[in-house]
């Protein structure tokens, strides 16, 4: 920087300070606090840089970005091929799939309604039939998107004192897992036809409802979870600890609720192959119906499901540490990147405590330097 003229009133500013010859650093948390000068107080560049950095790119928004594949139909040879593909997908595959789906529904209700009404007394038999029907219906669903699912690892068995956790990309995660094993699941109550299905069918496999916006809800849900895992006859419980759909390239923080039930936690990792279709359900951008239609007009839904080794709370480990350990396992298996954000930040603002933390660090540093 060029030299600057100084007037008599500000001559003190040009007094050579040793600090000016040392490498510059921020006013935030340093090991050896130095004297406080006006320049240090005015220099808010670290805080501003953090803010600008967040505006330009942030790890939270990246988790919910749908990655549309590069259009490959851009030249004279590929475009007609692509058009042919569209015709096949919308004109041939879609009607076939829709027909399969409707047929499946008819068969399902034809079995479910009689079983539900007639076998009211014989609970064990009724539940067995309903469970099988639900598994069948899920298989029909998977067939309706030409789902190619590869399951790795031992199939979940029906025992008490275990809970299954998986990463969450779309509600179809549940369908894909359900076709192999009738899980009980904890879900957010949805409106529309999904809500109707939740109420009627999913009740039979044993579901727990929660409401994100209810604060007291958390304790009630925690109690219901604990009761469920202890029941011998209950279906194994499936929980998506992220609490929201993430785009299958990242994982957000796991909520600790599933990890403090005092039982085995069996991780499941799910990874979708993006080449065929992006299975991420961006619930803010499209309804579930539109999402399903998109899947039904794609070539296929290809994914891998890994059933990982059951984990237990280690002595001296907190529930949060346990959750992070399991998240590490799932992220490593499915090739996902971890971000340190709570998925609920999609719906709520961050807690002011985070800002207060920063303020505290800054204030303590200033006071420490002032005392010198």
């Amino acid at each position: 920087m060029a030299g600057i003229e100084s007037t008599s009133a500000e001559i003190d500013l040009d007094r050579p300070n040793l600090e000016e010859y040392l490498p510059p650093d921020s006013i935030h948390g340093r090991d050896s606090p130095k004297n406080l000068h006006l320049r240090d107080l005015l220099d808010i560049s670290p805080t501003l840089t953090e803010a600008a950095g967040a505006i330009v790119d942030d790890s939270f928004t990246r988790c919910f970005k749908s990655n549309s594949p590069e259009p490959w139909n851009w030249n004279i040879y590929l475009f007609p091929l692509w058009c042919l593909g569209v015709v096949v997908r919308y004109g041939i595959l879609f009607p076939l799939r829709l027909f399969t789906l409707l047929l499946g529904w008819i068969i399902f209700w034809a079995g479910f309604i009689p079983a539900h009404i007639l076998l009211k007394g014989q609970d064990k038999l009724r539940r067995k039939i309903e469970r099988n029907l639900v598994e069948m219906m899920c298989s029909v669903f998977v067939a309706s998107w030409t789902g190619v699912v590869k399951y790795h690892g031992p199939r979940p068995s029906m025992r008490p004192h275990q809970v299954f956790v998986a990463n969450h990309t779309s509600m179809i995660d549940f369908i894909i897992l359900e076709q192999m094993t009738a899980f009980a699941v904890i879900m957010q109550k949805h409106p529309g036809w999904v809500g109707f299905i939740q109420k009627t069918i999913l009740e039979s496999v044993g579901c727990i409802w929660f409401n994100r916006t209810e604060v007291k809800d958390r304790e009630i849900v925690a109690r219901k979870l604990r009761e469920h895992v202890q029941g011998v006859d209950n279906n194994p419980l499936l929980i998506f600890p992220e609490g929201t759909c993430v785009n299958n390239q990242y994982t957000v923080m796991f909520k600790k609720g599933a990890f403090e039930l005092g039982c085995a936690v069996c991780p499941i990792a799910i990874k979708y192959n993006k080449i065929f279709v992006d299975a991420f359900w961006n619930s803010k951008k499209q309804s579930f119906t539109m999402h399903l239609l998109r899947l039904m007009t794609s070539w296929a839904v290809v994914c891998d499901v890994w059933y990982l080794e059951p984990q237990y709370l280690q002595p001296g480990e907190t529930a949060i540490e346990f959750a992070e350990r399991v998240r590490d396992m799932i992220a490593a298996r499915a090739g996902l990147k971890k971000v340190p954000w709570d998925g609920y930040l999609k719906y709520f603002r961050p807690s002011p405590k985070l800002t207060e933390k920063k303020q505290q660090i800054f204030a303590e540093d200033v006071l420490r330097r002032l005392e010198k």
């Binding site: 920087m1 600057i4 100084s6 009133a9 500000e10 001559i11 003190d12 500013l13 040009d14 600090e19 000016e20 510059p24 921020s26 406080l36 000068h37 006006l38 320049r39 240090d40 107080l41 005015l42 220099d43 808010i44 560049s45 670290p46 805080t47 501003l48 840089t49 953090e50 803010a51 600008a52 950095g53 967040a54 505006i55 330009v56 790119d57 942030d58 790890s59 939270f60 928004t61 970005k65 749908s66 549309s68 259009p71 803010k284 954000w341 930040l345 603002r349 961050p350 985070l354 800002t355 207060e356 920063k358 303020q359 505290q360 800054f362 204030a363 303590e364 200033v366 006071l367 002032l370």
Partner: protein
Amino acid sequence: MGNSSSMLTQYDIEEVQEHCNHAFSQQEILSLYNRFCQLDRNSGGFVSTDEFMSVPEFAVNPLAQRLLRMVDGLNFKEFVAFLSAFSPRTTPWQKIEFIFKVYDLDCNGKVTFDDILSILRDLTGSFMSEQQRQKVLAHVFEEAGLLPDSSLGLSDFIKIFGSSELKMEVEVPID
């Protein structure tokens, strides 16, 4: 999301580049446009306060409210100009000018003791009492040879920052 860069013509990019004094390359401007469209969820042509606050990393920043006053409702061209202070291509003087603007909330070209106190309040919250803040500020003002009622202009800021380096850069990711 789709290929939103197709909505920005070469002419648009050059206009934006002019406006920010070539602080960003054309590639960076394209990236910033994608980011702008991503933040502007309701496609209103500008990013609202709510949309900025939905970025948790931004919302937890102690100076978020202050910056929102400067950046709320800007169109893309102005948005890039705002961010240009953080480009490695801008001079330290331009960066100091940006910092000055953050302090000079009423845009009268002068930063007073109270203006600096206000920012100190944002940065320290409830972890310093008002008395402590005033004491700190009075102390550094005195040490710098300034009276408590003096107001600082941009040239004073430049003198105060002196020749020490200012690290104020962000990297625009180019995909």
